[in-house]
């Protein structure tokens, strides 16, 4: 009858957040980095919804909905930029994006 407690949801959201953060820091393909960023945002969403459920409060859920809209906008922009970059150069690797340095 009883499902997992809030601790399970929070642990999962921390694991997701760490996965996403490591993905951003370690992976070199901008596509994978965008994916990892989405994971980080959704880790935040999961934590928000878990807390909202425990508190019996709607604010966290509305917050999570807003985050989804923002995440979608960010993904669109990120993919657009990646397409524009790949039109100018064939390889996609953030380590080789080095025209800016000083």
């Amino acid at each position: 009858m009883l499902g997992p407690g809030i601790a399970a949801y929070l642990v999962l959201s921390v694991v997701l957040f760490a996965t996403g953060a490591l993905g951003v820091l370690l992976r070199r393909s901008p596509l994978i980095i965008l994916l990892a960023l989405e994971i980080m945002l959704n880790a935040g969403n999961l934590a928000l919804i878990a807390f909202a459920r425990r508190l019996g409060d709607g604010d966290g859920q509305i917050f999570a909905l807003t985050v989804m809209v923002v995440a979608a906008a960010e993904a669109v922009l990120g993919l657009g930029l990646i397409v524009a970059v790949s039109r100018q150069r064939a390889d996609l690797d953030v380590d080789r994006l080095t025209s800016l340095r000083g």
């Binding site: 929070l10 996403g20 980080m40 934590a47 425990r54 604010d59 922009l77 524009a84 953030v94 800016l100």
Partner: protein, 492 residues
């Protein structure tokens, strides 16, 4: 059914946001129908009118509001702090219109450029009034996404695209950290509104609260480009079109720092001993990293980017003090700083157009004699950034130091003074290059662009604000005091 009551929304208080947003819609739609030749002029005119209108609305609200109050179910705060910050953002936007009017971007994209500039300013106006964690996150992403696009607006230039992509990745990383921190604060206190968070911190889980506060601070640190969260700044400032860089340097700083002040003081007064110390560490890191890295820069835009990191340190110093004097110092400092940032990057933009190449300290040689007004203004901005009169930062820095000394942190003021001395070297390097180096004989590759009266007017306006903020220090400090007097400062 008859129990329905329409929500009350204070449209007047939202007008700075709505005016700029409406202007953006008009520009976007109209540029579909207008012939390409008039799009730029039309867009610039609408943008300028909207910035003036939004600033006027914010000033009217500032005069009308004695004390602040929450509107739209307490999601937004209508108060003088938000209104003063909105005036500064709109002022930076207006100056940027003049600077970017002749920026060589393709004409068919002109409509989008002005619409994005207006939308970014609109998002900042919303962000500075945010009164709960959701509107804070929404406002942050609203203006950030606009700035990512503006950075990469010249899609045929790889440096711009690269800067845009880097800004997007690092900026979103910061936002995601801020979001997770917000979720933890919500879990600990059961509230997302700033006042409710302050009320709920006593019985909340300490671990969630502290971790959440730390992550929110990190997220805001990314936006304010404070060390050690500054690594995107030099690349993005260098790769973005120069007028956009000026706008980012000025308006983003205003927005991020005002929100940092509001959030920490209203939502976390009980955790004062944590965040003041954390901010003091960030201040020292920003001052050290920004000033030392600026010493070795060749590109003027990168040098100014590191200068902006060091100024993030100076600007966070009064917030770290956590007292009312600090709030006053921050707002007064921002007035001069935002105008001078736009002005300094405007001068760089002129040189860049002449040379059709990135501006370095070397190829500034002789610029001061070729264009005496712009060269003289740049010299004034450089002296001002050091913290010397006749620019308002002189007094702003003294105020910031006074705020931390009042808190008992004399050592922090000494750190600030030491790095001010370090900064003399690279700021004076620019002045020396402009006025004391032999003029290069190489022909300017960008030809000799016609004098750009709008840009010169923007630089002149920056000079007027920079010097005027010192001459009219008394009324401006009164305005800054009015803006922060209702904030529940935890110290003194």
């Amino acid at each position: 059914m008859d129990e329905f009551t329409a929500p009350t929304i204070d449209w007047a208080a939202l007008s700075p946001v709505l005016i700029t947003l409406a202007g953006a819609s008009v520009v976007l739609l109209a540029s579909l129908f207008l012939p390409p030749g008039v799009r730029r002029g039309f867009g610039a005119a609408v943008a300028a009118i909207c910035f003036v209108g939004a600033a006027a609305a914010a000033i009217a609200l500032f005069v009308a509001d004695e004390s602040g109050r929450g509107i739209v179910s307490e999601a937004i705060r209508r108060d003088r702090l938000a209104e003063l910050a909105q005036v500064l953002v709109m002022g930076a936007g207006l100056l940027t219109v003049g600077v970017s009017y002749r920026e060589p971007e393709r004409v068919e994209r002109a409509g989008e450029y002005w619409a994005l500039l207006l939308t970014a300013a609109s998002g900042m106006a919303f962000f500075v009034a945010a009164n709960n964690l959701m509107t804070l996150f929404l406002g942050l992403e609203w203006f950030s996404i606009c700035l990512y696009v503006l950075t990469a607006i010249a899609v045929e230039r790889l440096p711009g695209l690269e800067a845009g992509l880097k800004y997007l990745i690092v900026g979103s990383f910061g936002s995601a950290i801020l979001l997770f921190g917000s979720a933890l604060v919500y879990g600990a206190t059961g509230a997302i509104g700033f006042e409710e968070i302050a009320a709920g911190t006593a019985e909340g889980e300490r671990l969630f609260l502290v971790a959440g506060l730390a992550m929110v601070l990190v997220g805001l640190g990314f936006k304010a480009s404070a060390a050690p969260f500054h690594m995107w700044t030099p690349d993005v400032y260098e790769g973005a079109p120069t007028p956009v860089t000026g706008f980012m340097a000025a308006a983003t700083k205003v927005a991020a720092l005002v929100v940092t002040l509001r959030l920490l003081v209203t939502a976390f007064p009980g955790e004062e001993e944590l965040w003041t110390v954390a901010l003091a560490v960030i201040v020292c890191a920003s001052l050290a990293w920004g000033n030392l890295a600026a010493l070795v820069q060749v590109s003027v835009k990168r040098m100014l980017a590191y200068s902006s990191i060091s100024h993030a340190g100076f600007l966070l110093m009064p917030i770290a003090a956590g007292n009312e004097l600090g709030g006053r110092a921050l707002l007064y400092y921002l007035i001069a700083y935002s105008a001078m940032s736009v002005g300094a990057f405007a001068v760089v933009a002129v040189r860049e157009r002449e040379l059709a190449a990135p501006v370095t300290v070397g190829n500034l040689a002789g610029f001061g004699w070729e264009r005496p007004f712009l060269g003289g203004s740049m010299a004034l901005f450089m002296f001002g950034f050091i913290g010397l009169p006749p620019a308002g930062i002189f007094l702003g820095k003294i105020y910031a130091f006074a705020a931390v000394i009042e808190r008992g942190w004399t050592w922090l003021a000494i750190v600030g003074a030491v790095f001010t001395a370090v900064s003399i070297y690279y700021y004076v390097g620019v002045i020396r290059a402009m006025f004391m180096q032999p003029r290069e004989l190489a022909v300017a590759a960008g030809g000799s662009p016609p004098p750009d009266r709008l840009l010169v007017a923007s630089v002149a306006a920056s000079v007027v604000v920079a010097v005027g903020s010192l001459l009219a220090a008394d009324p401006l400090i009164d305005i800054a005091r009015d803006a922060v007097e209702f904030l529940p400062f935890p110290v003194g």
